[in-house]
C-alpha cells in the first residue's frame, strides 16, 4: 500500500476535488396539517422534496444553532402541538443515518404511527399553528474552487460558503447512496487517506454550528497534512 509510505503532503490525488454548492428555492405544496393525524397523512403523501426540505434543508437554514433544532416535524410537535415526548423522538432522527429520502420518510411515519396508536387524543387535537409542507427546488452550481492537492483542499474548505459545506458534507449521502460524504469519499478513494475520511464521518452535525463543523473538518484535514 503506497498510502502507508508516501507522506500526505507529497501525495497527488487521483482526481481533483471540485467544490460545488447547491442553492434552494422553497416551493409551497398542497399538503398542510392542523393535527398530528393530518401530519401523518401528509407525510405519507407529500413529495420526496418536502421530506428533504423539512429535514436536510431546514438543518441548513438553521445551521447557526448548536442545540434545540433538528427538523421541522419535531419543532412543530413541540411548539404547536405541545407533545414533548413525540418531539424528542422525531428530533432523534439523524439524517446521516439515511441514504435515501423514502427511508427517511418511513422512519418519521413509523415514529408518528407508534405514538398516535398510544395517544389517540393527541392525534385529533388541533395544533396552535398550521404546518405547511414546502419542498425544495435545487440548482447545483460550481464555486470555481478546485483542489488538486491536499493543501488546496484545505484552503478550499476554508474559502467556500457554508452552503457548499452542507452540499458536500450533509446532502451528499443522498447522491452517493452511502453513509458517507463527498469529502470522505474523495479522501478515501482519490487520496488514500482512509483514516482521515473516517474521522470526518464522526463529526457531530447536531451539536455544532455549520461553521464549527467546517472548523472541525479543516482541523482533521490539517492533521493529515502534518
Amino acid at each position: 500500500m503506497t498510502s502507508a509510505t508516501v507522506p500526505t503532503l507529497q501525495r497527488t490525488p487521483a482526481k481533483p476535488f471540485y467544490f460545488n454548492t447547491s442553492a434552494h428555492l422553497l416551493r409551497i405544496t398542497r399538503q398542510r396539517a392542523n393535527t398530528l393525524s393530518e401530519l401523518l397523512d401528509a407525510l405519507r403523501e407529500c413529495p420526496d422534496d418536502s421530506i428533504f426540505q423539512h429535514t436536510f434543508r431546514t438543518l441548513q437554514e438553521h445551521h447557526f444553532l448548536r442545540e434545540g433544532f433538528s427538523n421541522d416535524f419535531a419543532h412543530w410537535a413541540l411548539s404547536a402541538c405541545n407533545e414533548p415526548s413525540l418531539a424528542e423522538r422525531l428530533a432523534s432522527v439523524d439524517v446521516r443515518e439515511f441514504t435515501s429520502v423514502p427511508e427517511l420518510r418511513d422512519r418519521f411515519i413509523q415514529i408518528l404511527e407508534k405514538y398516535l396508536q398510544r395517544n389517540l387524543e393527541a392525534a385529533r387535537r388541533r395544533a396552535d399553528e398550521t404546518f405547511y409542507f414546502c419542498a425544495s427546488d435545487t440548482v447545483v452550481v460550481p464555486t470555481g474552487i478546485v483542489a488538486h492537492t491536499m493543501h488546496e483542499f484545505a484552503e478550499g474548505l476554508r474559502r467556500v460558503s457554508v452552503h457548499s459545506i452542507h452540499h458536500h458534507f450533509i446532502e451528499a449521502r443522498l447522491r452517493l447512496k452511502l453513509m458517507s460524504n463527498d469529502f470522505s469519499q474523495w479522501l478515501h478513494e482519490d487520496v488514500g487517506l482512509t483514516e482521515t475520511a473516517r474521522a470526518l464521518n464522526r463529526i457531530d452535525i447536531y451539536t455544532a454550528t455549520l461553521e464549527d463543523v467546517r472548523g472541525q473538518i479543516v482541523r482533521v484535514v490539517e492533521r493529515a497534512l502534518t
Binding site: 442553492a23 438553521h62 419543532h75 399553528e129 398550521t130 414546502c134 464555486t143 457548499s164
Partner: protein, 453 residues
C-alpha cells in the same frame, strides 16, 4: 391624470429610502414631556437620497464566498432579460426592495428593467379597496370597479412592451397584464400581501388572471392559495447597508437617545411600528406596566401614521391614555424618513417587542434580530418564520405572556444575549438582500427551465 414617472436604473440607484412599515406622514413628536422632547434637526426635512450599494459592498457582511456564489448563479442567466412591473416607484416596501434588487441583478448582468403602471385616482381607489379586501376587509365588488381595474390594465398593456424572457408582476394592481403575454416568455406573479383570508369576490375576480401565470410567489407559507400553478416562497428582506440597518457609531446612537430623552443607563424596551391596533401598542403599554412591577425599565413606542391617518390618531390617543403620566413611557410619532433614528433606537434597546395581533412578514422584527436584539413578538403572520421560539427570540400570545418574557429576558441577560446572537445569524442566512438576490436568480433559472421544457 398625471402619469407616474418610470424609474430607470439610474433613478433606481438614487431613489429615496422610505421606512417599510410607515406610511408617508408629516412629522411630530408627541409632547408627553416637552421639556425632554426637543425636535431634532434631522427630522425637519428628509435626508438626501443615498445611492444604492454595489454587490462588493456586501462582501464584508456576508463573506466573499456568498458573493462569488451569486456570480456563479447569475452566469447561467447572462444575456437573459427580466422585467419587473409594480404600481409605484416610491414609498412602501415593494418599491424599497426593487430599488435595491434591480440594480444588483443588473450588476450581475441579468438585464433587469423596472416599469411602473399608470392610472388615475379612480384606479388607485379601486386597487386600494382590493388590497384591503384581500386582507379580509368587507367590500362590495361592483361592476364599475371591475371595469375601472380592467380598463387601466388594458391601457397599460397597450402602452408597455414585454420583449423580456421573464416578466414579474408585483401585487394585484397590474395582475391583468398577463393578457400581454406572448411567445416563450415566462411570467410570475409576486404577491406581497397576506392572502390567507381574502375577500371571496375580489379573489374570485383576480384568480382567473393569476392562474394564467407560470408561477406565484408569496412571502409566507400561510399566504399561499390553492392554485394550479407552482407557488414559491420568497421572504421579504432587509438591506444591511441601508440607513435603517447599517452599523452606527455609538455616538450616533447616544445623540438620538439624548434628543428623545432616553436614559441608556437603564434597560430600554422598544416597539417600532405605526400606531395601528393590529400592532397592539396598548397591549405593549399594559405588558410594560406589568413587567415593571418587578424590573426597572423604560418603554419606547416609536411609530408613525398618526398625523394624516384618522385611525392612527385615535390609536395614538388610546396609547397616550394607557400610558398616563408615566415618565418611563416615551411615545414618538416619527415621519417616514427617520430611518437613522429608528436604527439608533433599535440599537439602543435592551429588548425589542413586536406584539402584533396580525402581521404581514414583520420586517421590524427582521431589523431587530439583525441588530442582535433579544426580540419578543406575537406568533402571527410571517413572525414565526423569523422567531424560532426560545432559539432566535420568543413568541407570545398575550399581554401577560409578553410581560413575563420582558421580566425573564431582563433578568437573564446571558440567555437574552444568546437569542440575540442566534437571531442575527438567522437573518444573515435567510432574510438579507443578498439572500433575496440568490432566490430571484434561482427563480428566474427555474422559470426559464420550464420554458425549455
Amino acid at each position: 391624470m398625471e402619469p407616474m414617472k418610470q424609474p430607470t436604473r439610474d433613478s433606481n440607484r438614487g431613489a429615496p429610502e422610505i421606512p417599510s412599515d410607515q406610511p408617508e406622514t408629516s412629522s411630530r413628536v408627541v409632547p408627553l414631556r416637552p421639556e425632554r422632547r426637543k425636535l431634532p434637526r434631522s427630522w425637519e426635512t428628509p435626508p438626501a437620497p443615498v445611492p444604492p450599494p454595489h454587490l462588493d459592498d456586501y462582501q464584508a457582511i456576508v463573506g466573499a464566498a456568498e458573493i462569488e456564489e451569486l456570480r456563479f448563479l447569475a452566469r447561467e442567466l447572462q444575456g437573459k432579460t427580466v422585467k419587473m412591473v409594480s404600481s409605484t416607484a416610491v414609498g412602501g416596501g415593494v418599491a424599497e426592495m426593487l430599488n435595491r434588487l434591480v440594480p444588483l441583478l443588473s450588476e450581475l448582468e441579468v438585464a433587469t428593467h423596472w416599469d411602473v403602471i399608470t392610472g388615475g385616482n379612480d384606479f388607485f381607489e379601486v386597487t386600494k379597496a382590493f388590497h384591503n379586501a384581500l386582507h379580509g376587509s368587507d367590500y362590495e365588488l361592483t361592476r364599475q370597479a371591475q371595469e375601472i381595474f380592467l380598463m387601466y390594465n388594458e391601457q397599460n398593456r397597450q402602452r408597455m412592451q414585454f420583449p423580456e424572457d421573464v416578466v414579474v408582476i408585483h401585487d394585484p394592481q397590474p395582475a391583468a397584464l398577463i393578457r400581454a403575454r406572448q411567445g416563450k416568455s415566462r411570467w410570475a406573479w409576486r404577491c406581497h400581501i397576506d392572502l390567507s383570508n381574502p375577500h371571496p369576490q375580489v379573489w374570485g375576480f383576480l384568480r382567473p388572471f393569476i392562474e394564467q401565470y407560470d408561477a406565484a410567489i408569496f412571502s409566507s407559507q400561510s399566504f399561499a392559495r390553492q392554485l394550479p400553478i407552482p407557488q414559491y416562497l420568497v421572504y421579504p428582506c432587509i438591506d444591511p447597508l441601508s440607513e435603517k440597518n447599517r452599523e452606527l457609531e455609538d455616538s450616533a446612537v447616544q445623540k438620538v437617545c439624548d434628543e428623545f430623552g432616553i436614559n441608556r443607563r437603564r434597560p430600554i424596551v422598544t416597539q417600532v411600528s405605526r400606531f395601528d391596533r393590529l400592532k397592539d401598542p396598548v397591549g405593549v403599554v399594559q405588558a410594560f406596566k406589568l413587567a415593571r412591577k418587578y424590573v426597572d425599565c423604560q418603554l419606547v413606542l416609536a411609530g408613525g401614521g398618526a398625523s394624516d391617518d384618522p385611525e392612527g390618531a385615535t390609536v395614538l390617543k388610546e396609547v397616550q391614555e394607557a400610558a398616563g403620566n408615566d415618565p418611563d413611557i416615551i411615545i414618538l410619532d416619527l415621519p417616514p424618513w427617520c430611518a437613522l433614528e429608528i436604527n439608533a433606537l433599535q440599537r439602543a434597546s435592551t429588548l425589542v417587542v413586536q406584539k402584533s395581533i396580525k402581521e404581514g412578514f414583520g420586517l421590524t422584527v427582521t431589523e431587530a434580530l439583525w441588530k442582535g436584539k433579544p426580540t419578543i413578538a406575537g406568533a402571527v403572520g410571517g413572525i414565526p418564520n423569523q422567531i424560532v421560539h426560545k432559539l432566535t427570540g420568543v413568541l407570545v400570545h398575550s399581554v401577560e405572556g409578553c410581560a413575563y418574557q420582558v421580566r425573564y429576558l431582563l433578568t437573564h441577560p446571558e440567555f437574552a444575549a444568546q437569542l440575540g446572537r442566534n437571531g442575527h445569524e438567522h437573518v444573515k442566512e435567510n432574510f438579507l438582500m443578498t439572500t433575496n438576490v440568490r432566490r430571484w436568480l434561482l427563480l428566474i433559472q427555474i422559470l426559464l427551465r420550464g420554458a425549455q421544457a
